[in-house]
Point group: D2
Chain length 245, copies 4
């Protein structure tokens, strides 16, 4: 059965910066949709910041198995209410793939509990993402590394909880390294953070990058039809006979 | 050098419920202070909810190596500003020991990124905390298990991230189990969640419980004089020569 | 495409103990095969100790996606050569599901690096396996817990490395707990240890137990067609220009 | 109380290769002893391959809190019996610090359960070890990274179990990365693998490298006076009343 995938994009750079719109004329979300669709059985919805509820209504989220998140310059404009809502769906079982500068989104920081701070530099570093978890479903079809001729640099220390599985570690020309593919579970939901994708580079047209994102969507898919968690308020009945108090 | 320990207590039950004040006439914080002091080299400060800044001023936190947190019925009354402040200190390196119902505190939920929901029952269950990480510094001096004749039951599923180290698993008479001793690192800070300690039981007078809390304080102590994290805003200079753009 | 599943069974108790043969007249392997087949798309081979190569030839292993292992009284009779061979296939990507007393097999101990010692008692304890990782594919279709009216008791401390994901924790009538569902990755292979299944109980006819084993087979399936690891002996050529020595 | 530290060295290169003996005239073990002694309260014993029991008698191990292991070309000459013995002490609680090419020692492979294979190259790569776990006791006194002007390259994929805590990630000039500081617990013992230290470079004279090794010795020290594990053979008596069979 097709995975119900929702791709969320801030969609500002593409409308404001000609350099970016030249690469992604229809937006990063459209490029991702085009790139992923042939690789995995998905039905895709897109959603962007400047629409009601940022496009993330209860109806949309209730019909989402996996959500991809790309944001950068407008993290602060994402409403707290929507962040709470998406957070609730992730804990309930919705998969989440956070891309690149999404590390600083309210959503990712709330899920991690840390600042998610890092070093960065826009200087056309070469990035080489080494696979450190061969055999993991997210690297199916990927060789020993992915090479990106030019990308923004992200460097350690990256302030995140220890990943449950570390899948990629990046090498950069300027001398830095970065944990660039990180798996987590929170509640019933699976989360994958994937580093590459600065808006001024055609990274989301790179076949290996698209392959990894498609694999991550498959990996993060809920194991079963999930339901939102209900707080267990009443006292739990004992399952064994308790002695009289 | 003595560890600078601050014990934070909500301190409401003890003033409102005669059953509790009979056990902890000076408050849970005072009982903890008395119980821990002989076990480890500490200088202890206490702080409670109903004081300015809940007793957790920048000055107090700046002089704290490890913070113990006990709260239950008034989590909502802890100000968001103080939660942000304490959170910042934990990420900066301050150790944190969260006790019992502190699982639902704003602070712990913010650090975990999950609901921290669980099952519960007040019915005098016996609790037996089994050591599953022998050799860990937190169980120094503890046998194979700790037995508490009567306690509140906490049962799985406990909605927390996978612990980095699971130290205790509890057995309850009524048929439940619980991950009752859980280690995490967030930022530069170490966090230990320890389950026992419902206010209507004399749990914080039990020598093994006090031993574990004292050990946890030693374990959570910052490795070195810590400093608050500064967001690395400017672009990072390359450490190797970059080719011209 | 059907998962190529090989079920390995020591197959001694069933031939020597009437109590066991009454429950599993064709052997535990046959009962597992019958129970799993309707639940997941598999093509099943079985193999037993008292056949050439214990039934685990290079041909058989080369045609195995996932191997189930049940052994108990004859661990020492499994040849070291076959253990080395199976170990090599696991590191190469073959999934492995180790059941019950398989914890003390040469294979599991070799993969864990520890003794895998534990406490045990045959006394008809009730076992209740609590799900501590809801949302994990291995518990798809399982409720909050699985209840087994009578089983052998296994108790902590269980001498294993910290599981990468802990899926089940067991409660026993006699007062013990046990980490009874444990996920690991070693090399490219995934490993799941699952506790229940003493030979004198009809545990492998319980629908939830079979459901978990079938789920585990699906989870442990190699992400992609795997190849055996080749030791990288020659010096690696640099990917960037090195300065002259 | 001083930590009882035993430094084990293969001690062959230093006697056979003038290049190495020029750097370490008394052996790597002696250089390590000289470098660590001023940094932490230790009483040091050294042991080498070409002595009875490789210097690792029951008496020596019984008086060892932490063992450092350096080996390279003669892994195969370490007797299986001594490997079993040391393994037993690690599981019993003795700390272990494995250096550089010790990754391929029988001991480390036995503890990991994997091949510990990796890529390598001797070509004077610069190595920069980035701290990815700031606040961890092993990086006390270390800045954001350690820089080594020339070292042997070790590259991913490094075939090890997912580290419980990843402390360092290395960058190499030639374009590779490596998980170069890895923490594990096995049984009651703590294990730290630390990458640098090829015999043809003066790495063990570098103050930061020595600082890390000394910190690791402090971290790996047993929490309490440890005893060797005894296999729990007899059935465990129930702690609660069992119903009649």
């Amino acid at each position: 059965m097709a995975i119900k995938l929702t791709i969320w994009n801030e969609y500002r750079h593409e409308k404001e910066n000609p350099l970016v719109s030249a690469i992604y004329p229809d937006g990063i979300h459209a490029a991702l949709a085009r790139g992923i669709a042939p690789l995995i059985d998905v039905s895709i919805t897109t959603a962007t910041l400047d629409t009601p509820d940022h496009g993330l209504t209860e109806t949309v989220l209730g019909n989402t198995d996996v959500l991809i998140w790309w944001g950068h310059k407008a993290h602060a404009e994402v409403s707290d209410e929507i962040v709470e809502r998406v957070h609730r769906y992730v804990l309930g079982g919705m998969g989440l793939v956070v891309l690149h500068s999404g590390h600083h989104s309210k959503l990712f920081r709330k899920l991690m509990g840390t600042t998610a701070n890092l070093k960065w530099r826009e200087a056309n570093d070469k990035e080489r993402l080494w696979v450190v978890a061969p055999g993991h479903p997210i690297v199916d079809g990927i060789g020993q590394y992915i090479e990106l001729e030019a990308e923004e640099m992200y460097g350690e220390h990256f302030d995140i909880p220890e990943p449950e599985t570390l899948v990629f570690v990046s090498w950069f020309t300027g001398g830095e390294v970065f944990r660039s593919g990180c798996c987590y579970r929170r509640g019933k939901g699976k989360i994958f953070y994937f580093r590459p994708g600065h808006e001024t580079y055609p990274t989301y047209k790179h076949p290996d990058v698209l392959r990894v994102i498609a694999n991550a969507v498959g990996w993060a898919r809920p194991a079963h039809s999930f339901e939102l968690e209900v707080v267990p308020t009443p006292p739990a009945k004992p399952l064994e006979v308790l002695p009289p108090r």
